[in-house]
Amino acid sequence: MNGRILQLNNSEHRTVRALLPWFVVDTLTAEELALVQAHVLGCTQCQADLDWQRKLLAVEPRSNANPDVERAFAKLRPRLDTTQRGSKRRVLIEFLNNFWHGNPQWMRWTLVAQFSVILALTFMLATPYGNVVAYRALGIAKNAGGNAVVVFNPETSEQDLRRILQDAGAHIVDGPTVTDAYLLNVPKDKLSAAIHVLRSHRAVVLAESLGSGDDR
């Protein structure tokens, strides 16, 4: 029992000790004030602490600096005229208000129309083009008209290369790629035969149709 009372008193003592500086300057709430007053009556430690704090309060150190209000305000005065005042929202409202009431009616509506056109153009530029799909696969060069790919032996001469292509009825539309492949165009009805002819030459390493698979 005694231990519990002692614990409560210790807790109260700590609370009061923390509040003492603001008791000295009289800024506590009524409840805190009552607590401190009741505790201090019976606590010599807090009474001594209070005395010490009152001494500290009484000897506020003097300021060595001696700022001059006239000089300081004179320095600030020109800055007041050049400084934008108010929050951004208020500044915007003031600007719009000044604009609306400070210009002739024809000018106001001209500027409003001009602003609307600029806004509409901005919106159009920011919107993607209708339904046009600009997707292009890297491997299929339909626009180039190629429907077969061929890879020749690196030692094949240009003359032999031309002859082989002529035999197959194909002509080059693109290449060579980094893997020495050429994109060929062959009439669709002759694609299978062309692939067969190409493969029959020793100089051809690879010949493949780029179609859906029907021509292979």
Binding site: A18, P21, W22, F23, V24, V25, D26, T27, L28, Q37, V40, L41, Q47, L50, W52, Q53, R54, K55, L56, L57, V59, E60, P61, R62, S63, N64, A65, N66, P67, D68, V69, R71, A72, F73, K75, L76, R79, L80, T83, Q84, R85, G86, S87, R90
Partner: protein, 203 residues
Amino acid sequence: MLPRKNADDKADVEAPDVRPRPSQIESHEIQLISRVAEGDLHAFETLYRLYFPRLTRFLDRMTRSVYLIEEIVNDTMLVVWQKADTYNQSCKVSTWIFSIAYRKALKAIKRQDKPVEADFERIPAGSDVEPDHEVSRQQCQKSVGIALDSLPVEQRTVVNLTYYHGMGYQEIAETMDCPVNTVKTRMFHARRRLKTMLSSLMD
């Protein structure tokens, strides 16, 4: 007798209290701020002259430089001039202005890049000082000043705002933008250090 604020200093003779009550001071300052928000330069100058001595006293303990003090006061009051319309009465006018000054001072100290804490070894040791009754008030003030200046700026600010500006812990927390418990902890550590440093003078 229960301890009361400055109770020992007050005369027993009842005199009419002509000082305006805090609420009146506060409402006067709110009126000034409202007029400043409307661009009333005269109201601004009144507010400036009202706060100049308080802010310079506060900043003197933080910066120790007269030119820096004037610069920070002017930067603070320029913000008041610019942002008076944003003051929403959620705190006292003084708390709002002091919080601006505190932030400006911290920035200025950081820019200076030199410690403003003094060396408490400069305080005369117990054996060197005269007996208590002969210690002059000026000497005491000087020693307290040195002891205060040797505290970290956050602890010094809490002590300064409490004892020499009469602010409550809630107001100090708002001014320094920190929790109330932090204010109490800073005060606790500050008191302990001050007691050690000033033991020869004040015990």
